[in-house]
């Protein structure tokens, strides 16, 4: 059974309502799906539609077979789906511990037990528990963001460019953590700019272009596909994709 099944999803913003024009995907428990595509393809918008930040115009979203299309962010958390957004994904003025507690906001009685479980998986967060999140390095912040999302013990975890702005070493470490999270049984959907590296740690990959599915398949095979390489991976050794070829500025 798939944990997350998305069928012909479309939607967008009040100002631009045709951004996502029919995206379908599925992620099984324990599986890591990476979603790649050029800037502005609608990757982040898909994630916002899935979490209830935006209301889908058409299509269907199911979690463990249950229809959850159009639920509020709160209901989506309760249904077991959590997003780590692309930017500003921690509360900078709150401590590490308070950030984790916010991840369990809807179920405060479980906070203690979950805090123990999450800090066991990410020991760094235990060491820094009293530190304000804004004092963490970029890589540490991404780990905190992921720890916060895991506090509610989601069955589906959505990550939006978790390695944006990280050093190659920090990106490697983070990919390893994402991989381990998937292997613990969570269905993980990861949007990434570091396409080549992302495909190397993922089970399957989906290429989105202009709000639609363009290519999909097992990640290693897709990474070798000459057309995909030419489209997205050519030129730059680091495998950053950028349709304009100007390179992407790192964030913060």
């Amino acid at each position: 059974m798939t944990a997350l099944a998305v069928d012909a999803l479309s939607g967008g913003y009040a100002a631009a309502d045709h951004v996502v024009k029919g995206v379908s995907l599925a992620v099984a428990p324990g599986e890591l799906l990476c979603v790649i595509g050029p800037n502005g393809a609608g990757k982040s918008t898909v994630l916002k539609l899935l979490t209830g930040l935006l209301r889908p115009r058409a299509g269907r979203v199911a979690l463990d077979g249950r229809d959850v299309t159009g639920l509020s962010p709160r209901r989506m958390i309760e249904a077991g789906l959590v997003l780590v957004p692309q930017e500003r994904n921690v509360f900078g003025t709150l401590t590490v511990e308070e950030n984790l507690a916010m991840g369990c906001f809807l179920d405060p009685r479980r906070a203690r037990a979950r805090m123990a479980a999450v800090t066991e998986r990410f020991p760094l967060l235990a060491e820094r528990r009293r530190q304000a999140a804004r004092t963490l390095s970029g890589g540490q912040r991404q780990i905190l963001a992921m720890g916060q999302a895991l506090m509610s013990e989601p069955r589906v975890l959505l990550l939006d460019e978790p390695t944006a702005g990280l050093s190659p070493k920090a990106a490697d470490d983070l990919f390893a953590l994402v991989r381990a999270t998937a292997e613990s049984g969570v269905a993980v959907l990861m949007v990434e700019q570091n396409a080549l590296q992302a495909m190397q740690v993922s089970d399957r990959a989906l290429v989105l272009v202009d709000g639609r599915n363009a290519h999909e398949g097992p990640a290693p095979a897709l990474a070798r596909d000459p057309e995909i390489r030419r489209l997205f991976l050519g030129g730059r050794g680091a495998g950053r994709m950028d349709a304009s070829g100007t390179g992407r500025e790192t964030q913060r």
């Binding site: 979490t51 930040l53 962010p73 709160r74 958390i77 309760e78 959590v82 997003l83 957004p85 500003r88 994904n89 921690v90 509360f91 900078g92 003025t93 709150l94 308070e98 507690a101 916010m102 991840g103 906001f105 809807l106 405060p108 916060q148």
Partner: protein, 288 residues
């Protein structure tokens, strides 16, 4: 002269600490709802009258009249928010600020209609000032100071340890992420308005205790409150406290150095200086 200056410093720190209470309310509302609530002065007046009624009509001691001031101002603050500000939310922060200013005028005149223009005094025992060498402090001044500190300690504990307080800080920090973690921003906004207005009410009562209560007791504070919050960085909790103490001291010193009319100038100069030199305030970005 040095002694007079030291006395002005003592008075300024006490006045500034009291000013910090409504300034915290103002800055908290700004941090979560992103608009300056200029009804804060009238809300302080509501609290001053509520505390005065509690004290003179029901014989409540000050520590028991303060929660009455909090409650009355909190309810008035929610009424202002729902009836005047919320309908203009879509029009932006400036319109919300103007709506709150107008609602404050209405509130002020309702109080004038109900209580008249007379100066009202709390039922206070007449006590002799305490003298320390050349310095004088009134026991009532000290009690007000301690009550103001207690209000701030309670606020700090609420923000630090309660689930709702943490949610307030989370929304102030990053509204979208708070939404993604299941926080209801509408509920948090309502709690913030109630707490912020309640703080203004307690501040108004403390000022009324120090002077007297009339329909303008809170309105006269608005400039100082705004200056304190701007000086500390709008939306910053520690900033509001530091800003209020700085404004309180500067006002006392201005009165000493020039004449009482110059008290008003301090707020204007502080706002002007911050806006031109360091728009984010002394404490930089907003902080929890």
């Amino acid at each position: 002269m040095a002694e007079a200056l030291a006395q002005a410093l003592i008075n300024g720190v006490i006045a500034g600490t009291i000013l910090a209470v409504p300034a915290l309310g103002f800055t908290a509302i700004f941090a979560v709802l992103n608009y300056p609530n200029f009804a804060i002065g009238a809300l302080a007046t509501v609290g001053a009258y509520a505390g005065w009624v509690g004290n003179t009509a029901f014989g409540l001691p000050m520590a028991a009249a303060l929660p009455v001031a909090f409650l009355a101002a909190a309810l008035a603050g929610l009424a202002v928010q729902w009836m005047a500000v919320k309908p203009l939310e879509a029009a932006g922060a400036l319109m919300m600020a103007i709506a709150s200013l107008a609602a404050g005028l209405v509130l002020e005149n309702m109080l004038r209609f109900g209580f008249g223009n007379e100066l009202r005094g709390f039922d206070l025992p007449l006590l002799r000032d305490w003298r320390f060498g050349a310095f004088r402090v009134g026991p009532q001044q000290v009690e007000n100071f301690v009550l103001a500190l207690a209000c701030m300690a309670l606020l700090w504990a609420f923000l630090r340890f309660s689930r709702t307080g943490r949610a307030m800080r989370a929304v102030a920090d990053n509204r979208d992420l708070a939404l993604l973690r299941g926080v209801d921003p509408v509920r948090v906004a309502a709690v913030t308005v109630a707490v912020g207005a309640g703080l203004a009410g307690m501040g108004g009562m403390l000022v009324g205790l120090d002077t007297s209560v009339d329909p303008l007791v809170g309105t006269r504070l608005v400039l100082s409150i705004f200056a304190a919050a701007v000086l500390g960085g709008l939306g910053s909790i520690p900033g509001a406290v530091a800003g209020a103490i700085a404004i309180g001291v500067a006002e006392e010193v201005a009165v000493l150095a020039f004449n009482p009319a110059y008290r008003l100038v301090v707020g204007f100069v502080a706002i002007l200086a911050v806006l031109t030199l360091r728009p984010s305030g002394l404490f930089g970005a907003r902080a929890g």
